[in-house]
Symmetry: D2
Subunit: 374 residues, 4 copies
């Protein structure tokens, strides 16, 4: 498909490149599990292609590219092996910086949804990729998976094309701070349970694996359930944007786990306030997660950034954080309240639109700049 003169560079034979996102780097081809997972190269030559493999049962991955840090393309990838031309016809002697990112979150609901990078083809030479100034880890739900950041207001299907990394606050924070980053997020998930009270849909349960969200044989073979090696990549800050779906769960009926028949449900009182015992479960989940984060990341600053969609759990979250601080003596944590989304700033799927992600990114990055530079 591409011109004859291009040389093939399977990843194992390529000296210089940078991987974004948690993955099992011993795999070939290389799996890009998460939104914001990707690969960056500096390369000369007139032409650059990337070779990928794609599969899924239901949800196809989308990708986007940046050339010299400018947005260049965004597209759906259908099943099969693809050679994607990233650029062609360029001045051969100039060094180009090319970034290739997965837009789509790791999908819990598709045991086959994968995007693997085999390598590049080019007529140029590859050069070292520079280190970023900071390392950031983002943990979250649909807000961190960029749900609704593409698509028309009023579009309401739950689909990959409406999710993104390119328009999400995470990419904006990373750009603003010149940061490397890793993201673990899934729409509808919480700290304790999912929006529908499904107790399996919580981020903490996935946190210590490479990609605990994606399950099944395929992902096992890709290394997704291997323990994640925290010591290899130590984030300067961990940004947790969770709670919005736990909040939603209080207004939903209980969930019965298929197979086990186990039932779980956060309860509201008749006056629509939340049941105190269930709130305590939620708070305990926050506390437990903070201990887990700290255990694995002794030196990282931890910021709980909450509020892009209702402020309802502000008190329970801060109560849990205050208790965690008291129990642990750990003061290297912070609470940031993001701006709630007014009706006229919604994007697709009744989720915050791009302008709200810009505001969230501004608050987080200004905070981190001050904190991390100090």
């Amino acid at each position: 498909m591409s011109s004859e003169t291009l040389k093939n560079y399977p990843l194992p034979e390529l000296e210089y490149y940078k991987i974004y996102g948690r993955t099992d780097e011993s795999q070939y081809p290389l799996p890009l599990f998460f939104n914001g997972s990707g690969i960056e190269v500096n390369v000369t030559g007139s032409e650059l292609w990337i070779d990928v493999e794609v599969d899924y049962d239901v949800y196809e991955p989308w990708i986007f590219t940046k050339l010299n840090d400018a947005f260049m393309s965004r597209q759906m990838l259908t099943k099969g092996s693809h050679s994607i031309c990233l650029f062609r016809g360029m001045s051969p002697s100039e060094v180009k910086n090319m970034k290739f990112f997965r837009e789509l979150q790791a999908m819990d609901g598709d045991k086959n949804c994968r995007l693997l990078v085999k390598g590049f083809r080019s007529d140029g030479f590859f050069l070292p990729v520079s280190e970023k100034r900071y390392k950031l880890e983002f943990l979250g739900d649909s807000l961190t998976s960029g749900e609704g950041t593409y698509g028309a207001v009023g579009d309401n299907d739950w689909l990959p094309m409406y999710m993104s990394f390119s328009h999400d606050y995470t990419s904006m924070v990373a750009d603003a701070l010149d940061a490397d980053f890793r993201i673990i997020s899934h729409g509808g998930w919480g700290v304790l349970c999912g929006w529908d009270n499904d107790p399996r849909h919580n981020i903490p349960s996935c946190y210590e694996k490479i990609c605990g969200i994606s399950k099944g044989e395929v992902f096992e073979s890709l290394g997704a359930d291997k323990p994640y090696r925290f010591r290899d990549w130590k984030p300067d800050a961990i940004i947790v944007n969770l709670g919005t779906n736990d909040d939603a769960a209080f207004k939903q009926p209980p969930f019965t786990v298929p197979g086990t028949g186990e039932t779980f449900g956060l309860r509201s009182n008749p006056d629509s306030s939340y049941n105190e015992n269930d709130l305590e479960l939620f708070k305990q989940a926050v506390i437990d997660f903070l201990f887990m984060l700290r255990r694995n990341n002794p030196d990282s600053h931890i910021v709980w950034a909450y509020g892009m969609y209702e402020y309802t759990l502000t008190f329970p979250i801060t109560d849990a954080m205050n208790r965690y601080r008291k129990m642990s003596g750990d003061t290297n944590v912070a609470f940031l309240q993001l701006q709630d989304t007014p009706a006229d700033a919604m994007g697709a799927r009744s989720h915050p639109g791009v302008k709200m992600h810009e505001q969230a990114a501004k608050k987080i990055s200004e905070y981190l700049r001050k904190r991390l530079d100090a």
Copy 2:
């Protein structure tokens, strides 16, 4: 000074007008104690003047006017009796809405700083002033006194001209929500103590008087220390923007109260964290203030809005609020974290510039609109 044909309307003889801000309405002339205190009329005629009396030892009051809700003038008032022309030459038959506001906070440091309204002069008729949709009470420090919202970046004198109601978030929130409002604020004051650890400089101690900030014989005679009648004006929401100066006090030496020799000081640890016992004093002050607010305002929604200048006390404030909620069972309170001011958005006196007040106003007014409309 004005034309002969104008009729004099001393306030006691005027049927229709609206007073903004806490005051002793039995006084004549009428004292405008606070920033945002003022008077509104609807009037026909070609010309309108207001008659005021002004005095001070050190700090002169400033005022601003709005004609039909558009900013028209802002000026210093020097000592003496003044007739100020608010408009002239207008189409006589049209009804004009005129608002006259004090820009300057109630001044603790000037026992003579007063602005009194005697009445109006006009060739028109006065008509009823319409009610606003909501009632809001703002309690705060320099951020609520608009310090630095006028003046060049780099100007650092502590002066009335740099303070304002016109560029403060309070006026923006009131406009956005079509709300009547009352403000009690003083630069440098806190919930527990002032920025310099002066334990007298806290807003709670003033809250139950008409104007507890301004002390001395002059203000006594003006009714400032009369108990405030809460039942006459019930706010839909109370916005408390306090804590920033208590935070500052932790980094200052202890304060010795002149006269009594009493010493007070919030302490930092050698590692620059804050002394836990002193933090507890602060938290207790927050809790006590919330009880005081609730006792006097059984039905008002209480929002603690904090963060325009450093987020440092987010955890102590939310801890205190969580404890208050538990102790009282009162859930009609909320915490809003405002946006910290980055270096390039500072106004005069190293205080947040107008753009930051716009952001604060946006967050508060969007929150209140959702909450109060519900």
Copy 3:
């Protein structure tokens, strides 16, 4: 490649769709010659694919898509037949509006650069596409081909990926006015000659053919050099954004036409003013073009919109237009001066960035709204 259950809809068998851009509608597959050329459908079903054929020697076409009028994807198309999935997994019963646009201008320099639409595949039904409120024709150069609207500041290769319709003022004007549109533009071309004095590179010489820019056997066979049928699509307004390259030519050496050896060159005086005789040639070209436009479009409002990159030819253009008005008695023409691009608002290739296109679009669309609504 796509799922088995999709039905194939070759264009000739499809009842409902809308073509954007000048083309020879008798062709199958259907050529999309210009930037902004494209096809729109309303369709139910869960999945929609478009089948295209692509070829080129040098310059590959790029496309972008809009789903329900929201930007969804942008990508390069390499040589060959492609089935591109436009959406999948959607709620089958809902009607989706899908637009598929060519980003790349008609290329003078590539006798093979073509993008042909064969048809669609879907599991839904196609429905009628609604008419737009207005019809607009845009004639221009690189500014109208969106050159530099993608890509990093500092990127300077002359490449398809840096050109666009999606970020060009033309798409913004069309959106703002709810207008159908046709575009004829080529980077470097002028009214009289190209930026390098090439006398063949002028838009008027192409105007009366379907696509006079693209030459050679391939394009002949695609109908590009057929006479354009003006009576079939009567624009409400014609926006001419030309002159910037004629201006540049005055500062360039003469051009020798390959083959004929003919030489052409607009000259500057020693004081760097422009030679009067050559300015007269330029003015005559403007006048001739206005006559040509009017002959073919008796009722269209003609707007010369100039100035996004230097105002230098403002006087020669207005002089020519004033003379045309006098000669013709035609008053249905206007001159709009767009905003020159300051250094800090440049995009890639030292061309105006997206913000300048937004400003240009604002001026043009506000003007046209007032004019066409009158």
Copy 4:
């Protein structure tokens, strides 16, 4: 009125100050004839007052002040002698930059409307005022007198308070370019005649006097009708914003000059196009004015900036300018088309609001920066 310790500085005894605006500098007190006329000082000390004299029959002057280049106050001045405190209580040793500006245009309709500066009072020392980078002269009508830049949308009285220099594009251009400036403008006036066809209401007839707009004995005694000494202050650029009222005149009935009975009227044709002979009168007035400007300012760049309120006379103005260029050989002139004001951007009195002045200022200042820096 002010404190005893201040020293009186009548202007004749003051060594350092800068006058803005055309005036007769031999007068004492010093007349501030125009909008943007004013006085600037650099001064130490804690306190500064300005002493002024004010009179009028109908239209009272307004003023605004800037401290260290930040807007500080805006107020009406009523009849009489006033001591206005510009600041007080400041750190005595710091040098403060204070600017005092007239907001109100020179008024044709009030033979008594004057604002005279007598001097300052201060406890500080006056220091030299620095020169600005450029000199600009602005000539115009209500757009240049800031009409409608204050006041509510819908307010329609023709009053001084709705006019300003502080919110006008002229002050924004001057700030952006660090320029000294002089302004001659009057609402309703044109190049040839006023909006109502009054042939006396044209700016050219006033241009060669110090302040030809203001007539009568009072102004004669103030030096207003003395010839203006062009050689003393040579503008780098002259910005002419005229034509909007000549345009309006075409739609108005003829005007009969009181006293002489002379009648004047620009005529429209039945199809609402403009009478060609009358357009020619307008064009001739533009040409004559350009010759007058050039004669008096041999080296100044002349920019005709037109279009903030309808583009209608774009062709007549450019035709006249093209003819002037041909007749004179003068190429040091330019035409800038400003942005027409859409309905939703109007300020008071159906005039462009502040945002439109910002846009106009941006176009003019970006143009001039490029041109004057070259």
